[in-house]
């Protein structure tokens, strides 16, 4: 079963536990600056939005890479960067429409979410379930359920 990260910004408090979990898993330090998932704060609106790679099936980054450093992991569905192949040309960072492939100047390679090999640490660290890792076919079901609950059936029946 393929699984996906789903993100519900309404539940996010902006605590950055996800960024620390991600950077610790991948870099060995607690370092939001090197996280593959980022929480954006929209101060005036009072909103916090976690954002990361959605692992496109037809991945722009993968197709753009001139040295085939980005490959799909068949088990997790994640597009993974092979550090030994990546030449740091950054073409993938331009190709990605969402900006979720980033360059790491300390290593000269690009970094992106690889779903931690199927156990994404951001999701397990999130204290409010704003980030969850669910059956890929079920993405959106929670949102559908929430909207369904808001449908005013009683009112429409009486009209």
């Amino acid at each position: 079963m393929l699984r996906s990260l789903t993100i519900d910004p309404d539940k996010c408090t902006g605590c950055l536990q996800c960024e620390m979990a991600c950077s610790y898993e991948n870099e060995g330090v607690f370092n939001p600056a090197k996280s593959r998932i980022k929480v954006f704060t929209f101060h005036d609106e009072g909103r916090f939005v976690p954002y990361t790679c959605t692992q496109c099936d037809e991945a722009w980054c993968l197709h753009a890479c001139p040295v085939d450093a980005i490959r799909m992991n068949r088990e997790t569905g994640a597009m993974e960067v092979s550090d030994s192949v990546c030449v740091g040309c950054k073409v993938c960072t331009i190709a990605c429409p969402f900006g979720t492939v980033n360059y790491n100047q300390d290593t000269g390679k690009v970094i992106k979410c690889d779903l931690c090999g199927g156990d994404p640490k951001c999701a397990s660290a999130c204290p409010t379930a704003a980030i969850t890792y669910v059956d890929a076919d079920a993405t959106g079901l929670d949102k559908m359920r929430a909207w369904a609950a808001r449908t005013d059936n009683a009112a429409s029946a009486s009209n």
């Binding site: 408090t13 902006g14 605590c15 950055l16 620390m20 979990a21 330090v29 600056a33 009072g46």
Partner: protein
């Protein structure tokens, strides 16, 4: 480990910046943050120094767990000698700049001297420089934040700044970081402005590593986050209601100081409570509260993000206040609300915004306005001083007028910026000042919560709830219930809370975790992260050592046991309503026992034996 073991020393007089190693011998005794910075203050300053002179130091200090995945591990403190109290000051703040400083590779910044002109310190990892700030002087915190972000071009730059109130000499000016988190109390912002230091801007991309036992640390922090999540206060009450959950509770037990502590219950408490913040407004159908928000690494997320009703008189035609910003916490809502008799939620949210915008401590601000209102009603202050504004209890217009005056220090704002003690002295009624050691009380009346009377009287930074929050025990039953109306046993309770809290404040964690955690929950996290063996006993010993060193500093600064007292109103005028009706605060029944279990003399002085026991510096 977990300390970066590096200090950034900034001599403002000479514009010199140097890196130096952290004194690890002291870290082993004083942990970090509050404790360790106090040790540096003790070493480097004359306790008798002028708080606003170049001889005072200003220290930004993180703890060993700051910047890690330990829940709430994002705290930093500003430590200095207070211009409000003349005692040691240590104001703790959350937000994000503490972790950013650690991530840039620094445990502490020590500022010394005084810059010849306005500057701010810009830190990008190991690079630090003083930048001219002539253009920022005279600007609010919010404007300064915007302008520095424009300069760095990096939205991730974290900024702490002082506002116009600090520049004008308001004695309770705060250091505001991340727009609406405050190192709030005791005038630490006033000291910063006195050094011509407008702001500290930090970008740290190195991260915090260096964990002693990473696997154990991750296991321990994960376990302890679960404890917070499953606790009713930290898992449900605080995220849903914020600290404002207390407003109605404290009012019901008759410990909500009202009208400058003349009364202990406020008739409009429900109008300014957490519940009121969630009620949809008539005008636009939206509640005051938009959402809760977390500081760095915090899995509790008690912070409030709020809006003001756009039609409210305070913000009419002022769209700059129509967006979301940091909303009301209990202390601010109490001081600017109940203590002034103002039951107008939008007015309080506005004055809270302005306290953040121009860097004032909302507790001291509100309590000083309350004192001014009593002075006005008694005729000691007249409309001559107030440009015709009637400073009456309950007047939202007066409160809003006052905050605008203090923000800039104009006119009567300069008087209000003196704080309650000096204001009441100036107008001939020192007895009306509700302060200890010159610092205004927070939101618990010690006639209704007796332990808080001893807490206030003996607090090393003047009246403060965060030095030993016995409300946890006396009202909420954490860790066990004690009777708020009796004095028996409170001396021991206060000492235990003081010592434990000093340790918490020195680790990089938030004291709000202690609704669910004890040192038993914290020691394993610290021990997994840091070199040396850290257990509960060692933390308690360090906490007690820190408490005694702060006390020693204050004694050398000229304070004495005579300062461990409360205003006559709380000792002589009984509560007139509620469960505490007929009660005064029985301080004299607690203080001698407290001195005794502290190992101090009858006059509250440290003994050589106590100094030796904690290996205090000479």
């Amino acid at each position: 480990m977990s300390w970066t073991k590096k200090i950034l020393r900034v001599n403002l007089t000479e514009g010199r910046i140097e890196e130096e190693p952290l004194n690890m011998e002291w870290a082993a005794q004083y942990i970090g943050q509050r404790g360790l910075a106090t040790r540096y203050m003790f070493e480097e300053t004359d306790p008798g120094c002028d708080p606003l002179g170049p001889g005072n130091r200003l220290i930004f200090a993180t703890g060993p767990l700051t910047g890690t995945m330990a829940s709430t591990g994002g705290r930093y403190s500003v430590i200095t000698k207070s211009p409000l109290t003349g005692a040691i000051a240590c104001s703790n703040s959350g937000g994000f700049i503490g972790a950013e400083l650690k991530s840039a590779g620094w445990d502490m910044i020590i500022f010394e001297g005084k810059s010849p002109g306005p500057v701010y310190l810009n830190i990008v990892n190991e690079h630090a420089e003083l930048v001219g700030a002539d253009d920022l002087w005279g600007k609010s915190v919010w404007e300064t934040d915007r302008l520095i972000h424009e300069r760095t071009g990096d939205p991730q730059t974290r900024i702490a700044a002082v506002g116009r109130s600090a520049e004008a000499g308001c004695l309770y000016a705060a250091v505001i970081n991340d727009l609406h988190r405050a190192a709030g109390r005791s005038g630490v912002g006033t000291v910063m402005a006195s050094k011509n230091l407008k702001a500290v801007a930090v970008r740290g991309t190195r991260g915090v590593g260096n964990i002693k036992d990473p696997a154990r640390f991750l296991r321990s922090t994960t376990e302890q986050k679960k404890v917070l999540a499953e606790n009713a206060v930290t898992g449900q009450g605080l995220p849903a209601m914020g600290t404002q959950v207390l407003m109605n509770v404290i009012n019901e037990i008759g410990a909500l100081p009202t009208n400058n502590m003349q009364e202990v219950q406020f008739k409009d408490a429900n109008k300014i409570s957490a519940e009121a913040m969630q009620e949809p407004r008539e005008s636009d159908g939206k509640p005051n509260l938009t959402t809760n928000a977390a500081c760095f690494g915090c899995t509790i997320a008690c912070g409030r993000i709020s809006t003001i009703d756009q039609g409210h008189f305070s913000v009419e035609n002022k769209p700059e206040y129509w967006g979301n910003s940091g909303g009301l916490e209990y202390e601010a809502a109490w001081a600017m609300g109940a203590d002034t008799g103002v039951g107008d939620l939008d007015a309080l949210t506005y004055t809270n915004f302005v306290c953040n915008e121009d860097g004032m401590d909302p507790i001291s601000f509100g309590a000083t306005v309350a004192a001014a209102m009593e002075l006005y009603e008694k005729g000691a202050i007249t409309s001559e001083q107030t440009d015709g504004m009637e400073l009456r209890f309950g007047s939202a217009e007066a409160l809003v007028w006052c905050v605008q005056k203090v923000a800039t220090g104009e006119g009567f704002g300069a008087d209000l910026g003196l704080g309650s003690r000096k204001l009441c002295e100036k107008y001939g009624h020192p007895d009306l000042s509700m302060t200890v050691k010159g610092q205004e009380f927070p939101a618990y009346d010690p006639r209704g919560v007796q332990g808080m009377g001893l807490t206030y009287a003996t607090s090393n930074r003047g009246a403060c709830h965060l030095r030993s929050y016995t409300v946890a025990s006396e009202v909420l039953g954490i860790p066990e219930k004690t009777d708020p109306l009796v004095t028996d046993g409170k001396a021991g309770l206060v000492k235990a809370f003081q010592d434990a809290t000093a340790a918490v404040d020195s680790m990089g964690l938030c004291v709000f975790t202690t609704f669910a955690w004890t040192l038993d929950n914290m020691a394993p996290q610290l021990d997994a992260a840091c070199e040396g063996d850290w257990d509960v006993d060692r933390l308690l010993e360090a906490g007690e050592r820190i408490w005694n060193l702060e006390r020693e500093y204050n004694m050398r600064a000229g304070l004495s046991g005579a300062d461990d007292t409360l205003p006559p109103r709380l000792l002589k005028d009984a509560a007139r309503t509620g469960p505490a009706e007929g009660k005064v605060c029985g301080l004299d029944q607690m203080l001698p026992e407290y001195y005794s279990i502290r190992g101090w003399t009858e006059n509250g002085q440290l003994t050589d034996e106590t100094r030796k026991r904690f290996a205090l510096p000479a």
